[in-house]
């Protein structure tokens, strides 16, 4: 089986994992959550194996490059990074409620990569400008950052769904969600990780651009949108310093931030520039 076949099957497994996490919330049954968590670990392992396999396939084709350089591969890596971060968070917080909010990102990314007719899963050789180790660090850091922002998006949604009332009715679907202070804290931690990674992503991107095109910053739309995202999250980080800007306002800013991430990722392809994967 080729790596892209494995990955397209994984889409369905991830969807199943999402359904299980959702059932756990709706039915209030922690047992289902446990099954979901185990399945997630299994699919993550398979996902990792498929990435390595794809790498090896590229060597077998005589191209030999890391599987990180077109839209297909970046989506697959994004899904992988979201899973990785989510597994770490689930393990650290011992709470599975975010699964229902985060898994949609994973299977949507996988489904888009595997089933969109406009995305080719073929391993293509690299044009000269993309042959750079900076490219690999650039993609890895950016997408780890995007994954962290994806989790922050999930936590922000949870924050907005969760009621303030501490005496929630039993059987309320949202009882599994941690309390608001904890959500706020988790959200902030994700923003911080995402911001750090995005910063490193922008840095490695500019070093790469400098070696390939001679200028570390040229206001191309993708660059500009990553800067916009960066500015929004910088605003999020600083709004914690201003009294009264906790919780809801930050959650909403994080939603805006994630919308910027998505635009940086997909929307920019509709504006012309250096980064458009299309050519």
């Amino acid at each position: 089986m080729t790596s892209s076949e494995i990955l397209s099957y994984l889409t369905f497994i991830y969807f199943l994992v999402f359904v299980l996490y959702l059932l756990m919330m709706v039915m209030g049954r922690p047992g289902i959550g446990k099954t979901a968590a185990f399945m997630l670990l299994g699919s993550f392992a398979l996902h990792t194996a498929a990435l390595l396999l794809r790498w090896q396939e590229s060597y077998a084709m005589g191209i030999g490059r890391a599987p990180l350089s077109n839209l297909y591969e970046s989506l697959i890596f994004f899904a992988w990074a979201v899973c990785l971060l989510y597994i770490i968070v689930e393990w650290r917080t011992r709470n599975r409620s975010a699964g229902a909010f985060v898994m949609p990102l994973v299977f949507l990314a996988m489904a888009y990569a595997s089933f969109s007719p406009s995305i080719s899963s073929q391993i293509q050789p690299l044009i000269p400008a993309l042959k750079s180790n900076w490219l690999i660090t650039h993609v890895v850091t950016c997408f780890l950052g995007y994954a962290a922002f994806g989790l922050s998006f999930g936590f922000s949604l949870m924050y907005l769904f969760k009621r303030n009332d501490p005496t929630e009715k039993k059987g309320d679907s949202f009882t599994f969600i941690p309390n608001k202070d904890m959500l706020d804290e988790l959200n902030y931690q994700m923003v911080v990780i995402g911001f750090l990674m995005l910063t490193l992503g922008i840095i490695t991107g500019s070093v790469w651009a400098h070696s390939a095109w001679g200028s570390y910053w040229s206001w191309d739309p993708k660059e500009t949108w990553s800067l916009i995202t960066w500015l929004i999250y910088a605003a999020v980080i600083h709004s914690r310093m201003v009294r009264g800007w906790r919780g809801k306002k930050i959650a909403i800013l994080c939603l805006v931030g994630f919308a910027c991430v998505l635009f940086t990722y997909f929307g920019v392809n509709y504006l012309a520039g250096l980064h458009s994967y299309a050519n």
Binding site: Q124, P125, I127, P128, A129, K131, S132, V192, L196, T199, L200, I203, S206, V207, W208, H210, S211, A212, W213, G214, S215, Y216, W217, W219, P221, T224, W225, L227, I228, L231, I232, A234, A235, H238, S239, M241, V242, R243, V268, L271
Partner: protein, 466 residues
Amino acid sequence: MEKTVKGEKPNPLWGFLSSVRLTIVLLILLALLSVAGTLIPQKEGAIEFIQGLNPNIIKILEFIGLFDLYHAGWFRLLIGMLAINLVICSIDRFPSAWKRFAASPSVDRIHQFEDLPDNLMFSVNASVRQSCERISTLLNRRYRRVRFKENNDRFFFLADKGRFSHFGVYILHLSILVILLGSLVGSFFGFEGFVRIPEGEKVDSIMLRNGTASISPGFEIRCDDFTVEFYENGAPREFRSTLTFLIEGKELEKKDILVNHPVVFGGITFYQSTYERVAGKLIRLKITTSEGGKIDESLTLEIGQKIDLPGKEGTFEVLEVRHMGSVPAALISVETGKSDPTRFWIFEGFETIRSRLPEQMLRSPRFDPKAFKPYIFVLEEVQMRYATGLQANRDPGVPLVWSGFFLITAGFILTFFSSHRHIRVLVEKGKNKVHVKITGSASRNRFALERELQRLVQDIKSLFPA
């Protein structure tokens, strides 16, 4: 957290310029403007966009910099404000960070040990002196500074580490300034240019990107060779130019340059950017006569090389070769010494392209291969060669920007992954055992502190085997 030192009257301007509220507003404004810049066509893209608009409106829009937003005055003004905000805010807050860095809180604060959770208190089987010695060794091994104090038969330890983390945020913010400074230096003292060098030739000037001016770098660049390789699917795999740098004709350095592997000479960085195919120096042509009788062998000559005509009526040379509508063409000049030289263009594959040429061109003697009777000049082949296109930039701001990148990373690590932790240990004599209590405080990440305290409890306990 807009607080002012007690007793001082806050200066409203200072308060405004040092406030984090202003930071947030500026960050969001800059973000919004950048969005506008990606939606409104900029620079060259704007030309098409503004066609059909009222010229006065265009003038106004140009005046407010709508078509070059990122270089517009007020975009820069906002960035300048952010920089000022950053400087003032840092000055405002630095003293308190310094205080926290340099503080040496008193060691025997008994109230810090009140209301401790059970897992931070335990007893050991040892004398007080033994306990203090062992604990002291452990703490000294693990912490940067350990202080000790005895008070009323109670023995206090205060250890701390990570006090430099207070400066993380300042390094982070400083790095932003360094990057901004670097970009400023680049825009004042740098340039972006371009050179195009056919294989085997050299240039001594660089065309600037914006505008028609060119500068001479004080040396010559020769392109010795250019190669391009393709993948099977036709996509380019690699471009490579071999360059030689010369000063006053002396070869100083020979370098290969590839995409992603620029070369620096004389403070100017050369990047492989594009390439094209251009006419080379060698031309193969054939001379026949209109009667079709005596046909010469085809001959190969260089541009500028004078050759006798077959009947020794004079000489001819090729002055220039060039592509006309993608067809190679050569400019022939025939001199007989009697009158002005006869000049005309001949084309490769003239018979086949004839139908594509405009009527006037066919009638003009400048394009007539029979212009010098009785000969017919036939251009057989123009040797092709590559011309390499190199981006040639100077940006003295780059080292600053790079150090800013380094600082920002260091600042992040200091800010987010380290914290100033104080650990307090109290040793006191109980009835027949020695009681140990542990507590601590951290400038950030309380959870990590909690884990550290737990580990310390375990490690101290293990110093006293039962």
